[in-house]
């Protein structure tokens, strides 16, 4: 009897979550689908952003997301390697971990302000893809470190022992044996970070995103439009907010699609890496 109630509850919660997710996606889809066209995703906005497409914003988000991964992934993996493979003093490890958890709890707008103060102004990188990527890279760092640590710990200790017992150095063991076996797991966890990097608005609004620029970025020092910020602008500061409602929904739909697309790339890479890594 108790079991039946419990199962029903568990099923109900699973159903609620699925319905909520499905509902959101369906709502976006129904409202946004009408504006999606080839022109919408390949043309820049026109008429004060009330018409035309969103191509610069799509491109900007893709650049920023890959930039964030390029910053966050190496740094995050390196930190995780230090924590799991090298750091021996428990107190040091605990201190670092507290720091990482705090970082994870910092509101994204604070990252944005930090990026503005440090990268944009102090390092004089300006509002640019570089500043935005660095800011987003730091934002997703805790996620990547966490995922990497778990993945590194999951590599059997016997692999490390076998490698070391062959007179292979610790660094070579980490680089040749531990890391390749942990990479699929690292990527799995990092996919969450990728989604976050693509979707965040606050960190890029001060550091990278342009209100409007029809010009496509020529280098990492240029400003870009970005999907989340474009949605924010259209919905709050546009010249004609009501008239651009369909464009807003269309942009949201594209953003969701871009995030899923980037996730898909990560999943494919992971699948490729996993093929020979069974233990």
């Amino acid at each position: 009897m108790k079991q039946t109630i419990f199962f029903t509850l568990v099923r109900a919660s699973a159903l609620v979550i699925t319905l909520a997710l499905g509902g959101i996606i369906l709502y976006i889809f129904l409202n946004g689908f009408s504006v999606i066209s080839w022109d919408f995703i390949t043309k820049p906005p026109t008429d004060s952003m009330t018409k035309g497409g969103i191509m610069p914003a799509i491109l900007g988000t893709v650049y920023l997301t890959f930039g964030a991964v390029a910053v966050g992934l190496p740094l995050g993996i390196a930190s995780a390697i230090y924590l799991t493979e090298y750091a021996r003093q428990r107190r040091v490890i605990r201190l670092i971990r507290v720091g990482i958890n705090c970082l994870a709890g910092v509101p994204s707008v604070v990252f944005g302000l930090f990026g503005l103060g440090f990268f944009v102004i102090y390092l004089e990188l300006g509002s640019s893809i570089l500043s935005g990527s660095l800011t987003l890279g730091f934002l997703i760092l805790p996620t990547i470190i966490g995922a990497s640590e778990e993945a590194l710990k999951a590599v059997p200790q016997t692999f490390r022992e076998a490698s070391l017992s062959l007179g292979v150095t610790k660094w070579q063991t980490t680089y040749r044996i531990v890391l390749p076996n942990a990479l699929p797991g690292i990527l799995t966890g990092s996919i969450l970070g990728i989604g976050r990097a693509a979707g965040e608005t606050a960190p890029i609004m001060f550091t990278a995103a342009a209100y409007f620029t029809a010009k496509l970025p020529g280098s990492v020092f240029d400003e870009v439009m970005a999907l989340p910020y474009h949605i924010y602008v259209l919905a709050t500061a546009g010249t004609n907010i009501e008239a651009t409602r369909p464009i807003q929904f269309g942009t949201v739909l594209v953003l969701v699609a871009v995030v899923l697309g980037i996730d898909l790339i990560a999943i494919v890479i992971r699948g490729y890496m996993r093929r020979n890594k069974r233990w």
Binding site: R88, P156, T158, F159, R160, E161, A162, S163, L164, S165, L166, G167, V168, T169, Q172, R176, I177, N181, N276, K277, R278, W279
Partner: protein, 252 residues
């Protein structure tokens, strides 16, 4: 007979944090012999084995006292690099632990990272696999994953992998405990052949195995070396009652 000793252990104590695992161990290991370390679980035999290639220091909070002399040098002297020691003293583990790589790359991994030339690698891989009596079974599938081999084949691959480094000493930590009787017999035959070229120190729970394959046997109990002598003597007329009790199965 001093010149025949390859490893000399003198007054070694070993601690896991506050727990003493080995107490005042002194013994010599003879070159090109098979020495078996036996004793009940937790007696310190595996701990001692892992001292010879400095594997214990991977565990936090361990401490060694005393000296282990290998090639006229204390391997625990501060200037000694454990990586150098492990090149000369190879190890085979309890459970087969091939890398998730191809059979070929399992063998070539250690030598390649230690600067062994690529052009001679094929020959080294073949030679190592032949030494481990695995060549005929795998020569056509060298580029297949080692994870597809059977447990016994994997363990022989691990032996081949250790041999490819051309070590002087081969440490074996219960190498057959995870294997079926046929695979075990193959490994035992292999050990018999290998002792012409290598010094083998093997930890085993299996008394018959120690009796079958070893020249010398050391019996440990609660971190102490109780008795160390020729295998024949240990298994027929041990000097100490505890040893006799253990090998006749009265405790353990």
């Amino acid at each position: 007979m001093e010149s025949c000793d390859i490893i000399t252990v003198s007054h070694v104590n070993f601690f896991y944090s506050a727990v003493r695992a080995l107490t005042d161990i002194s013994m010599n290991f003879k070159k090109n012999k098979v020495t078996a370390l036996i004793g009940p679980s937790g007696c310190g035999k595996s701990t001692l084995l892992r001292l010879f290639n400095r594997m214990n220091e991977l565990i936090d909070g361990t401490r060694v006292e005393g000296e282990i002399i290998f090639e006229n040098e204390n391997i625990y002297a501060p200037n000694v690099d454990p990586v150098e020691i492990r090149r000369k003293i190879g190890m085979v583990f309890q459970k087969p632990n091939p890398f998730p790589k191809t059979i070929y790359n399992n063998i070539s991994y250690g030598p390649a990272l230690n600067g062994f030339s690529k052009s001679d690698m094929d020959a080294l891989v073949e030679q190592s696999l032949k030494q481990a009596v695995l060549w005929d079974e795998v020569k056509d599938i060298l580029n297949k994953s080692a994870m597809n081999l059977s447990g016994g084949q994997q363990q022989r691959l691990c032996i081949a992998r250790a041999l490819a480094m051309k070590p002087d000493v081969l440490l074996m930590d219960e190498p057959t405990s995870a294997l079926d009787p046929i695979s075990t017999a193959k490994i035992e035959e292999l050990i018999e052949e290998l002792k012409d070229k290598y010094t083998i120190i093997i930890v085993t729970h299996n008394m018959q195995q120690a009796a079958r394959i070893s020249d010398e046997t050391a019996f440990f109990y609660l971190g102490h070396l109780i008795e160390y002598n020729k295998t024949e003597k240990i298994f027929t007329k041990p000097d100490i009652k505890q040893t006799e009790d253990y090998i006749t199965g009265r405790f353990g």
